[in-house]
């Protein structure tokens, strides 16, 4: 499995970023020296040998950049730089930042408040055993749903064969003093 080796190298590259950059610099630098030495032995002057070595190598900085890409740290570096840039932007425009923060706070806050009500009223299961088996029965008057009269309720309860049990509830008004 090569991925753990890859992950290890990436982690190392991330944590030891400066060391890795120095290593890379040293590696490419030693290449240039060896090429210059070869050029020197071909009869060039020391200065010309070094110059030719650079030319033969091609883009030095772009090669370094590609090596960093191969190590896959460029992504993290770019990301951290982008985040830093964003925060500096916020500091520069406090008015805009305040408005954006306020809008987010209100949005998230009201969403949370509304959802907690909706959850308690509509979504949360009722506090009875087997709430999924609970049903509500109505009587029908002129084709419309209607509350059940006390007599009907007592009949239904007595003659019930389909439900485990039948119960009734009714609303009421009270005056409370606290």
């Amino acid at each position: 499995m090569w991925w753990w080796k890859d992950a290890f190298l990436r982690l190392r590259a991330l944590l030891l970023r400066r060391e890795m950059d120095e290593e890379l610099q040293a590696e490419l630098q030693s290449h240039l020296e060896m090429q210059a030495r070869k050029n020197l032995s071909a009869g060039l002057t020391p200065q010309e040998a070094r110059r030719q070595a650079r030319l033969q190598f091609g883009g030095f900085e772009s090669a370094k950049e590609e090596c960093r890409d191969a190590r896959g740290v460029n992504f993290v570096e770019t990301l951290s730089r982008d985040v830093g840039y964003a925060f500096r932007g916020f500091r520069r425009t406090p008015g805009f930042t305040a408005v954006a923060l306020l809008a987010l706070m209100l949005g998230i806050g009201s969403n949370t408040a509304i959802f907690s009500v909706v959850y308690a009223v509509l979504l949360a299961p009722l506090p009875y055993p087997n709430p999924d088996q609970l049903v509500m029965v109505w009587s029908k008057v002129n084709g419309h749903r209607n509350s059940v009269s006390a007599g009907d309720y007592l009949d239904w309860k007595r003659q019930n064969t389909v439900f485990q049990d039948v119960g009734a509830w009714s609303g009421g008004n009270f005056n409370l003093s606290v």
Binding site: W2, K5, E27, S30, H31, M34, R37, G59, C67, R71
Partner: protein, 112 residues
């Protein structure tokens, strides 16, 4: 550098194969690898030295080669690359792919 002879740029994707092949015998640093490739190709293949190192680092990440710091023949620190077991397998795979590829191209070219 030998002039006058026409040189071929590397085909996309063949650099990995050449690097693995060059490292088969013994550990080498980057410069020696580029020299070796030019040497065994009798100076026909031109390895872009700048693109050699990204390829080496990529291969190292894939676990096909490993790198160690050592002392070069100049007495300076240099990074030596060597084969791993999975690199050996990869060389076989890539060599097979390459042979299939040239077979197919040759067949297409022979087609009237």
């Amino acid at each position: 550098m030998a002039q006058g002879k026409s040189r071929l740029d590397l085909l996309q994707g063949t650099l990995d194969l050449l690097i693995l092949r060059a490292l088969r015998a013994d550990a080498m640093h980057g410069w020696a690898i580029s020299e070796r490739i030019q040497q065994i190709s009798r100076d026909v293949l031109q390895v872009n030295q700048g693109s050699l190192y990204p390829a080496l680092h990529r291969l190292e990440h894939r676990g096909w080669i490993k790198a160690e710091w050592g002392i070069s023949e100049l007495g300076r620190r240099a990074r030596f690359y060597s084969f791993t077991t999975s690199g050996r397998k990869q060389l076989e795979i890539e060599a097979d792919n390459w042979n299939t590829f040239i077979d197919v191209i040759a067949r297409v070219l022979r087609m009237a």
